[in-house]
Amino acid sequence: MRIWIKSGSPWVWLTAASVSISIIMVVGLLMLIAARGLGHFWPADVHNFEYRESDGQTIKIAGEIRDSERVATQQIIDSGVKLDSTEQWTTRYLIKTGNRELYGIDFRSLLDPLISQRSQDTEVMVLERREWGNFYGILKQIKVDGKIIAEGNDSWDALQMQITSSSDVYSTIHDIEQGEIGSINYTLERLRLKQRSLELRGEDSPEALGKIEEERQSLQSEYKLFQKELKTHYTELNRASLVAETIEGKTVEIAISKVVLAYRPNGMTIFDKIGFYIHKLWEFVSDEPREANTEGGIFPAIFGTVMMVIIMAILVTPFGVIAAIYLREYAKQGPVIRMIRIAVNNLAGVPSIVYGVFGLGFFVYFLGGNIDQLFFPEALPAPTFGTPGLMWASITLALLTVPVVIVSTEEGLSRIPKSIREGSLALGATKAETLWRTIIPMTSPAIMTGLILAVARAAGEVAPLMLVGVVKLAPTLPLDDDFPYLHLDRKFMHLGFHIYDVGFQSPNVEAARPLVYATALLLVLIIIALNLTAIAIRNRLREKYKSLEH
């Protein structure tokens, strides 16, 4: 025993266990996110339950099993449920029943002992809708203009056809509303600002105003045309409907225009399910969110994140590199530069929210407010740049990540042997030429590493963005085909903020949760990929210059 203690073996084992625990946590976390995030898109079976309610009545419930947990039986009995179970623990299921317009809620919890029967019906259909969440029931009829066109077995195929055609119409409407009409509205607003600006400068001559008015008239007539077109589309859209029966036998009529997708999970083969899964996954990354972000895709969030990161990278790279070159190559090395270096190092440890506060106060209110006074007086009091937006978010994050680029570039510069600089200078090159032709190319992998790390940090940062430009739902993307194409003053959506917002601010957290896991998984994957790239580049760089170091 004493030898065992003296050998330090228990301690070694404990340290080893720490590593094991850390590894398990890391891997477990990734697996948890992956399992929950990816599992969401798999079509879950719909179960039919017969359930005895607390008032003794037996009711029928259909839905997907979302979760199950074990609860102390006593606790359930204490809460007033009549339960004659001798078991100490009782299983409680969380069932997604959908049909929110009928039941008021999407979810129900069922106690295992009170479920008298459980079955699966291959005919049960799940409808994903544009509003009211999912619908679960059995398809009975398809109606067009109030006339029944299909019934019974044929109705399923008819339904799929109707959904396809209504989706086409729907996307046409969406294109017109977002594209053409959105564009007209945008131009009208610009005309209004132009007129206001002329008034402010005292150049509002009748000719100028007349010209604006003319343009406005032509836009408005164009607008009316589109309105008419939309009207026909809308009538077409609202022609078809379906009749379905819920599990309790209630007949419901649902407009097909409200249906996004219909499927019968219980009757699906494994290949159907895989196909469905891929379809859903694609929808998730390419579609716009529905129902207050709790359903549909996250495309605007991906787009916003990417836009912001690109602008940030464009800003941060030159400045970070120049600062590093200055510190390493030009500045006189002494206590002052050493202090600056420590300060820059430490800035990487300054909480990101502090940058957010700075960005809000300095960029948004101070700079933005002054820019508005100088360049956009016609829009006041509505702010143009004096409000959080894409540009300020990018600049704030550039400031936040500039230490990362500086440190990484400096490290790269310090790895380049002196002999290379001296060789270049000895051959008659100026210092600038030495830098440009030899040093910077040799440092480029380090610069890349710094940039990738900066991008990874910026992509995952949320706290400062909450203050300087992110919103839960942006009506328009920051990039479109209206001049000036890139709208730096617009607010944008962001993956990280999407997670926070949908996970914590959403009215229907339970329904949104799987989507949040999926979003989290996407974000994790992006960031891990970026980091792995940075690590790979760093390792290659080290290998490359190993031979130069003696």
């Binding site: 330090g8 340290t15 625990i21 100490q88 502090v354 209110y365 926070y500």
Partner: protein
């Protein structure tokens, strides 16, 4: 072979050389400019934060804008001085029933309006309601009351702002009869609420009457009429000279110059009740409500103003308690005026002095001797940016004030403050509320405490795991395994904290709540089982022991750890029924008196610990791995075991690195926002319990910043919080860096 280059001194090559030199110089300057620019931008953060915070600590100041004669020709006495929002027009009510509107700039009369009093009636008393309402009341000698309001209409003829003053009658033009017996009313108090009004009056023989009624708005012309009912409160109160009615219309305060106070509850006017009678042990020369009508401001003849409000004693009965005292000078206070929206007040005295004070901050903003004679009346502009003081000689002094942030002082930020309606002084952060005259509570202590608490629990979780793990990885682990393990853990450093926060809030918190006994079991079982395994391993036959070297132990232990975790979780239910009666939260509450929040410090500790493990791990691992091999080899050669070498040589040499790692990890935990925001309830409590939540500086900024009004006190205090965070982390990081360099030098000689 002819050279492709031109001769060295040809004009072309000279030009070329000049060009190159120019480029070189240009590059030098541009890089210098750019580099310094970036560094300046970074320094700007600090400077800008300071710049925003700075006005909080500017002392208040004032300047005299004008001095003129009281704009009324008769020898009337001033009953009330007041100003409108823009401070362009002031009004003076006098005891002849006239109200004179005059320009604040030069005292020129804009309009004089005679209040419509019943013919022959004489004014015997006067009262004002809460200043924001601009309502005043005349008590007459026939037992009735006329209620008036000074009002202003803003119009823009020709784009110029014009303010037109007028008088209206919010309760109708007819006098309201309070006393059926038509006795003169000698003392009066009035309050006018949204749908109710109340008048309290004292007759000349000392009977106190309360009259209240619902307001009714006529459909035809929007005229308001009030049907009042009058009840008698008490008789023989003639010795009380001050009468105040709170704006909630529930409490009446009576006071006399000897310091006697009597308090009545008139929540139900029909059954008034005396709730307190006491002597303040000071003489009273001035008696006013502080904004909000919870506190009383009492001025005495020695130049002091004290603040009193009811505080519940041990039996739960409210007792008027002296909270704090302000001193203006040595002569008697002649008037007190309270700000309309803040907890500040102005006091004037017989010596002609004006003092500006703030109660919550316990701050004397400034004292200034304005005039050589006694000041008699003081009025504050609604935005507290100007004031008018009348003196004994009938002159008015109009002053402009610069006092943007009176509510901030060292005490109000970092000290215990006795807030209104609190039983005792306390540290509270509560920056806003629905009501207008809310006492903002800007104590940074609870949120700083929350920050430290969150960081503490995170470090408690992270430091042992990270440092132990780093020791093993750097010292024992096989290089092959190390090349996988290290990047794996380091990658987690880049994991967005929003994901950790989301998991902590939505997955970990409910999971911990349901499995608390399992977690406790795990904390105990994990180390014990590892040590037990080590013991068993020690006595294994050598051919088994030698199959796995120490370098692979971490891999070997993974199944064991998973097994122990699984056992702990399956023990959850049995343990819960065995030890905690089937419900751990309830047991904690009843047996230990510990209340359980679902989103508590344990959750934050684990999630944030998870976030800082990679930081600490990575730096520690580098430090230990960087210990020169000849040191360890020397120690081993001298006969020390690996463990002895590790504890006495390696860790000692690497200690600066480990210290740095812990400091930087701490800095990161202090500044982390998203995890705390999502994994706690964000309630600013001062409680170190692990089962309670907290609010941190960073989360507080994230929650409140978007809603705070630019340049308000709240906005600047949030900037101050950011500055505190900035300096705190900057300080810790710099210390870490400096210590590392110091100790590196010391051990570098090895």
């Amino acid at each position: 072979m002819a050279s492709a280059l031109p001769p060295i001194d040809s004009p072309a090559s000279r030009r070329h050389r000049q060009m190159r030199r120019l480029k070189d110089q240009l590059a030098k300057h541009m890089i210098g400019f750019g580099g310094l620019g970036v560094i300046a931008a970074v320094a700007l953060i600090f400077i800008y934060l300071l710049y925003v915070v700075f006005p909080l600590f500017l002392p208040g100041s004032m300047e005299i804008e004008a001095r003129y004669q009281t704009p009324a020709d008769n020898n009337s006495q001033t009953l009330l001085l007041a100003m409108e929002e823009q401070t362009e027009i002031a009004v003076r009510f006098d005891d002849s029933g006239k109200s004179t509107f005059f320009s604040t700039k030069d005292g020129s009369v804009i309009e004089t309006i005679e209040v419509e009093l019943p013919p022959g009636a004489e004014i015997t008393s006067f009262a004002v309601a809460t200043p924001q309402t601009r309502i005043a009341a005349y008590g007459l000698d026939d037992g009735s009351v006329v209620v008036v309001r000074h009002n202003y209409k803003i119009s823009y003829p020709d784009d110029i702002r014009t303010i037109t003053p007028f008088i209206d009658y919010p309760m109708g033009e007819d006098p309201i009869v309070i006393d059926e017996l038509e006795r003169p009313l000698t003392r009066l108090a009035i309050q006018d609420g949204e749908d109710m009004a109340m008048i309290v009056a004292m007759t000349d023989d000392g009977e106190l009457l309360v009259s209240s009624g619902e307001k009714e708005v006529s459909f035809l012309d929007d005229a308001v009429s009030v049907e009042t009912e009058t009840f008698s409160i008490a008789n023989d109160l003639g010795n009380y000279s001050y009468l105040l009615l709170s704006k909630e219309m529930d409490i009446i305060y009576l006071a006399n110059s000897k310091g006697d106070i009597s308090v009545y509850d008139v929540t139900d006017a029909e059954y008034p009740e005396q709730i307190e009678a006491l002597n303040l042990k000071t003489d009273i020369v001035s008696f006013e409500f502080l904004t909000g009508d919870i506190s009383l401001l009492v001025g005495n003849s020695k130049g002091n103003v004290s603040q009193w409000f009811p505080v519940r004693d041990d039996n739960g009965t409210p007792r008027l308690t002296k909270i704090r005292e302000f001193s203006l000078g040595t002569s008697a206070i002649t008037g007190i005026a309270t700000e309309h929206a803040r907890k500040g007040f102005f006091a004037i005295d017989k010596n002609g002095q004006l003092g500006v004070f703030h109660t919550t901050a316990e701050k004397t903003i400034f004292k200034e001797k304005l005039i050589d004679v006694a000041a008699t009346t003081v009025a504050i502009a609604p935005r507290a940016n100007a004031a008018i003081i009348e003196d004994k000689q009938g002159n008015l002094t109009f002053i402009r004030l610069h006092n943007e942030h009176p509510g901030v002082s060292w005490t109000s930020l970092w000290g215990e403050v006795w807030y209104e309606s609190y039983a005792e002084p306390d540290y509270v952060w509560q920056s806003s509320s629905a009501s207008n005259d809310f006492e903002a509570k800007f104590s940074l202590i609870p949120i700083s405490f929350g920050t430290i608490k969150a960081a503490f629990y995170a470090m408690l979780f992270a430091v042992p795991l990270a440092i132990f793990g780093a020791i093993y990885t750097a010292y024992f682990m096989t290089p092959k395994m190390r090349s996988v393990v290290k990047p794996t853990i380091e990658i987690m450093e880049a994991l967005p904290t929003v994901i950790l926060g989301f998991l902590a809030g939505l997955w970990l918190a409910p999971m911990l709540e349901a499995n608390l006994p399992a977690i406790l079991a795990m904390i105990l079982l994990l180390p014990l089982s590892v040590i037990a395994a080590s013991y068993i391993w020690h006595y294994m036959p050598p051919y088994i022991r030698n199959t796995v070297s120490d370098g692979w132990l971490a891999g070997l232990l993974i199944p064991l750890v998973i097994l122990v975790v699984w056992i702990s979780f399956s023990l959850n239910h049995p343990l819960e029924s065995l030890l905690f009666g089937g419900n751990t939260q309830q047991w904690l509450d009843t047996e230990l008196g510990v209340s359980f929040d679902q989103r508590n410090s344990l959750v934050v500790g684990i999630a944030m610990g998870f976030a800082v493990i990679p930081t600490i791990f990575s730096i520690t691992e580098d430090a230990i791995f960087g210990v020169p091999k000849h040191l360890t080899n020397g120690s081993l050669a001298l006969g020390a075991t690996t463990w002895q070498t590790l504890t006495r040589v390696v860790i000692l040499t690497a200690s600066p690195g480990i210290f740095t790692a812990v400091m930087i990890g701490f800095g990161r935990a202090v500044g982390e926002t998203m995890i705390v925001l999502m994994a706690t309830g964000n309630t600013p409590v001062m409680d170190f319990s692990i089962f309670q939540g907290m609010r941190t500086l960073s989360a507080n900024i994230a929650v409140e910043m978007p809603e705070s009004e630019v340049d308000s006190t709240h906005y600047r205090v949030l900037f101050l919080a950011a500055l505190v965070l900035f300096m705190f982390t900057f300080f810790f990081n710099t210390i870490a860096e400096v210590v590392r360099q110091r100790l590196r030098k010391k051990y570098g000689s090895l």
